[in-house]
Point group: C2
Chain length 809, copies 2
Amino acid sequence: MPMKSRKALTADRPRRQSGAADSDLTAVRRYQRAVNYLAAAQVYLKSNPLLEEPLRPEHVKDRLLGHWGTCPGINLLYLHSNRLILRTEASLLLVTGPGHGAAANLANMYLDGTLGEFYPELTRDRAGLQRFIQRFSWPDGFPSHLNPALPGVIHEGGELGYALATAFGAVLDNPDLVAVCLVGDGEAETGPTATAWHSIKFLHPVTDGAVLPVLHLNGFKISSPTIFATMTDEELASLFRGHGYAVRIVGHLDRIHGEMDEAMAWAHGEIRRIQEAARAGRIPERPAWPMLILRTPKGWSGPREIDGRAIEGSFRAHQVPGKELRTHPAHLQAVEAWLRSYRPQELFDAEGRPAEDVLALCPRGDRRMAMNPHTFGGRMRRPLDLPPLGECQVPVSGRGQTRASSMKAMGRYLREVICRNDQARNFRIFCPDELESNQLGEVLEVTARQYDWPLPPHAEHLRPEGRVLEVLSEHNCQGWLQGYLLTGRHGLFPCYEAFIPIVDGMMNQYAKFLKSSLEIPWREPVSSLNYLLTSESWRQDHNGYSHQGPGFINNLLTKKGHTYRIYLPPDANSLLSTIDHCLRARNTINLIIASKLPMPQWLTMDEAIEHCRTGASVWRWASTNGGEAPRVVLAGCGDNLTLEVMAGVQILREEAPEWRVRVVNVTDLQILGIPQKYPHGLDEERFQRIFPLDAPVIFNFHGYTAAIKQLVWERPVNERFDVNGYREEGTTTTPFDMQVRNRTSRYHLVIQAAQKVAAADPGCSAHAEDLIRKYESRLREHRDFIRREGMDPPEISGWEWKSVTWRAR
Amino acid sequence: MPMKSRKALTADRPRRQSGAADSDLTAVRRYQRAVNYLAAAQVYLKSNPLLEEPLRPEHVKDRLLGHWGTCPGINLLYLHSNRLILRTEASLLLVTGPGHGAAANLANMYLDGTLGEFYPELTRDRAGLQRFIQRFSWPDGFPSHLNPALPGVIHEGGELGYALATAFGAVLDNPDLVAVCLVGDGEAETGPTATAWHSIKFLHPVTDGAVLPVLHLNGFKISSPTIFATMTDEELASLFRGHGYAVRIVGHLDRIHGEMDEAMAWAHGEIRRIQEAARAGRIPERPAWPMLILRTPKGWSGPREIDGRAIEGSFRAHQVPGKELRTHPAHLQAVEAWLRSYRPQELFDAEGRPAEDVLALCPRGDRRMAMNPHTFGGRMRRPLDLPPLGECQVPVSGRGQTRASSMKAMGRYLREVICRNDQARNFRIFCPDELESNQLGEVLEVTARQYDWPLPPHAEHLRPEGRVLEVLSEHNCQGWLQGYLLTGRHGLFPCYEAFIPIVDGMMNQYAKFLKSSLEIPWREPVSSLNYLLTSESWRQDHNGYSHQGPGFINNLLTKKGHTYRIYLPPDANSLLSTIDHCLRARNTINLIIASKLPMPQWLTMDEAIEHCRTGASVWRWASTNGGEAPRVVLAGCGDNLTLEVMAGVQILREEAPEWRVRVVNVTDLQILGIPQKYPHGLDEERFQRIFPLDAPVIFNFHGYTAAIKQLVWERPVNERFDVNGYREEGTTTTPFDMQVRNRTSRYHLVIQAAQKVAAADPGCSAHAEDLIRKYESRLREHRDFIRREGMDPPEISGWEWKSVTWRAR
């Protein structure tokens, strides 16, 4: 269908269409006129909502905001999705990629009454209409982009690229749900969208629902043509057939409604055909799920041109055409003529009530897309059945005597979670092919990686059904998980620590979505989004510098304190207690960071639970003098950093038992901040019970030091905190050399402690200087050994905590 | 070619191949054996490099690191790229997507002598070979991933996904260069790679070079099959033809060398055919650039199985097969048999010198891929011809009296840069379709957006040739720019501030690449990577909350202080001085943040240059008492925040002229940090000249407050800094309401100043309390006005700096 052969169909020039009866089509065109009118009216008008008076500048908003260009396409798809629902009673929801076209979604939600259910003053009469059009893009009103204040929204669409993955996440384990997903052709250029097309290869037609992607080619982005709009129909069809889709291209404007009716019926039929066959046991190989490509002009039905320059079908339709209408009479005239071309007086009665035939095209009740129950995730959510922690604990018979991998313990725990919730089908793990690498492989003993396409030889642990989705795309993992959570389910995203910043942008947007949701009374809490970061920087000695980066913490710390938590459990039992908490938690982003390699275990399960409850504790058993009246505090946060603290304090216990060193462990990072900003922040009295004002603190931290500095900033005498952390000093090396290079090693801690003690008490300075010399020399010896032998000295790799007199209760 | 019909060809079972003479093929197979042997030997051996003795545990490294699985594929492509070079003398470089297979690249670079040019001790004899194999994955040796320590490397490959865009960036404006780009099938699942395939639609066959992508299907990621390996040949061909490529699939193992010879010759021929036609004036429409899809088993030629489990062709070949060989005799035996299957004694002579026929397959001089001059970007780099700042300045005839858009001034400046460097063709702008939206459209008067595919009607400012590339993919912009810079050119990446975190991960990796490069003596400095962020958070009142996010600053602040700079110029002339500096700068990441909307101008060009040189100044003309002996310091950083400071101080000048308020402006964020960590950090004496120890500082900052807190952390008496910033309090609202919501407005500053003054001097408290009450009430009135009228009060939107007595020199 070459572009030149298509013609614009304006609202006042109806044409005969195929595929639908004339009377039917009249109402369809009237509905289309109504929603296009309402979308445009929201952008421009603050009064005179039905144009009963000639349009004058004082009817027009002072600030004209919104994006007209994408609205007619959203309206067209909304209308034909509604028609499909009316014909089939199918359960549809809509994920709108171009979320900046909120005016269109709002128009449809206003007409079908959804909006009035949440905002009762938005009645479908003149007074309600007046309020409705004014509220758009108005301070404290409706934003110009979709956001959680609008029902039906599980995707914001401000930062483009994530609609498609979100839609797939929503239909997982919802076998009767169809997510219609409008993908803008601008959005389609993004990487995250480009790879989300693969999602069909994961979808199981028996147990999952379906996504109907509609790639909307309206030709232009803000000012350039879109790549997809420059592709031929042959290229487009070839591309998406290659992805595995059955493709239908729609866009003959002179018979668009008939085409759309047919295309939607075909797509829905294909979906049902695949699902019914599969559910009857005839599972198709490489099912060709349908998708539509819809070509309509940008700003279709808007002004053809203004000031002699093309608007409709050009990039100039992107935002607000004729924007100068308060000062340029020609603009005012053009906009008025355009708005009147929809003939609102034919669509609304004298009381401002929408015409019956228009309303008759709206589905009812929870068949309205914005009322689809799945979009109210908080209402759909059922708590997980979680195993008692006692069942999964790592037995600890003496401090530091057991060695265990935190991630292996986590794997056993998650296996249990999967078993217990197998019937409910409401828990999934999304991972960039790192489950086994991250030592979580035990879950694959009771479930599989879900994948639907045929597999090559030697593939293991993959089946069309499974609770795990693995794909080498953090973007897909995040998008799928968001869709899954916002439709009321639970999930976990394990990832290499260094590569989770790939989804920084997505996480930023999700944090905004969460924060806004919390301000909407009818948004009930959804499950928290849980990141489990491992293969962490300190043990990426082998993969090297590119695999070392704890910066996700810093990104999360920029968010509102009540929207996130950051946990760095020091051992396996603490990790289990943490995940138990996180899988119950709601409405937060939880970041958990722990190691996958075997490490000494410090706490029994009961102790771990208590440690996690308080978020930080004095480890009296590790301290000298029982941790009382400390001269210096050694604090660890992060399991590898805690190990160095323990090894450091052991040296100090032997070399300077009189130095009263207190050992503190922090597992919940937020406790460091003040409670006014951080819900988990310790009140100042409790904070000082752990970190006395008069004792210097050597804080050995897993991440960049900036995180600690900003958290303790508001604390009195914050300069007592001397923070060690990751200093971007890495390469392919050994585990201990990573600590040495970043100056977080046990020897550095001993040297730092000696410096602090000497500074406070000159009487100790001779002893301190001896220790400093001794351990600086030890550092040099170890560096030499490592360079020579390519491995850590045995006294490091074989190090054990010596204080074994203590026994578990 | 269904998978089952292919057979593994092991090193000791040569077969007759088509397309090459027998004698030729013998050497080809011997070269292949040599590089596969060297790759495997590097992973396992620390001595006995030619297996002259039976393999014993003490010959084996204690820590076995590296990724064998991808090495045979890299070796195959390296070999056949070399053969193409030998046949055609073409200028090729190699971008290796699976950078974790560095052992393969190293093997080829060792053989062709490249490595010896930079590491003379790595001679091609027994002693050199011994050093070579030991150095791999050894502390302070060669990392297991490609990194800047290796010649020819312009892409690290640790975080997967960016090879393809980098390769396209490298060939822009290098018409005779061909970048062979190996894309792993794991990497191909990433979003950034998925959209980078579109890059051919931008490439101009007359003035740019070509990329030859080779999608390597080795079937598995870490533990799952790759998506692409589960696709049929028909699906693969359809997908990439849809993208616009001419596709050839290679992978008959029994005649692989003949196939590869033919395929490489075909691809090179197609490239030349397209280029020659275009350069003769017959520019092809939608040129079908060639690409190869290469199917070989993962870990091909490695052990078939170990412990009864398949290795070759399975995910178990990913890293180090038979890893337990120091403790498991069966592993030792399997690895020894495997290594001996390459028959190293036939490939190296008694002195450890590689055989002549093997060496004869290596190109010479700078035709070796790792010696391609374009990969030595620092050597290729020529400084830009930059316009004198005086020519581009914004005339400032009175403080705050001129209103100008910083970005419009920048647009004029960049237009000039493009004109002056038009012949050199070494400056480009990469942007996610936001050039015009960001008010930089003036550059399009002298150049165009480069795009090669045919355009739809109404497209403007696009041509096959142009200095600007716009695509709605921040990933592509970043990848192209990295490739362009690392091959010695210059560039700029303008972006909406809120969406630049999309490339957080890429920036992290680039910062690591830069830091490592600085440690390599033969890496000469490349141009800095310049981000120009605008449409910044404070003026995204209209697009709303999703478009507000200054967090990229915080991410950059996690890097080493010498690898980045962050600039927030307060007005247009300061911005011009900043960009002039940044376009001359080398080896850093520069972040520039400025507004696009008209704002009051404060500094003449001479003043701006001086202000930028020092990074921060006392604005005596704005302060009371000439800024002397301040009772309180009001500091602004960021143009919108500076505006509020100016409006706040104007109120204070009128209401409390006796309060000695000093106005400070910070344009270079690093000056706040200590010079030991930040090269631009002010020494403490100069710092205190601006921020006296005894005066509280109200710091009105553009970004999140954490940035300032971490920078001033080490400064004495840091608690005198009271930091305002973006608090994640946004929505669709008005510009001033953004300031009010985030408590950075002029009224908040007045209230804060009054509180500080009252706290320090009880004599002032009555006056201070009056002011606090007055401006709290003003705040409430303004909020009410904004909600009622949907716009800012005229006294805000029409605010002007009143002190007009001052005149420019």
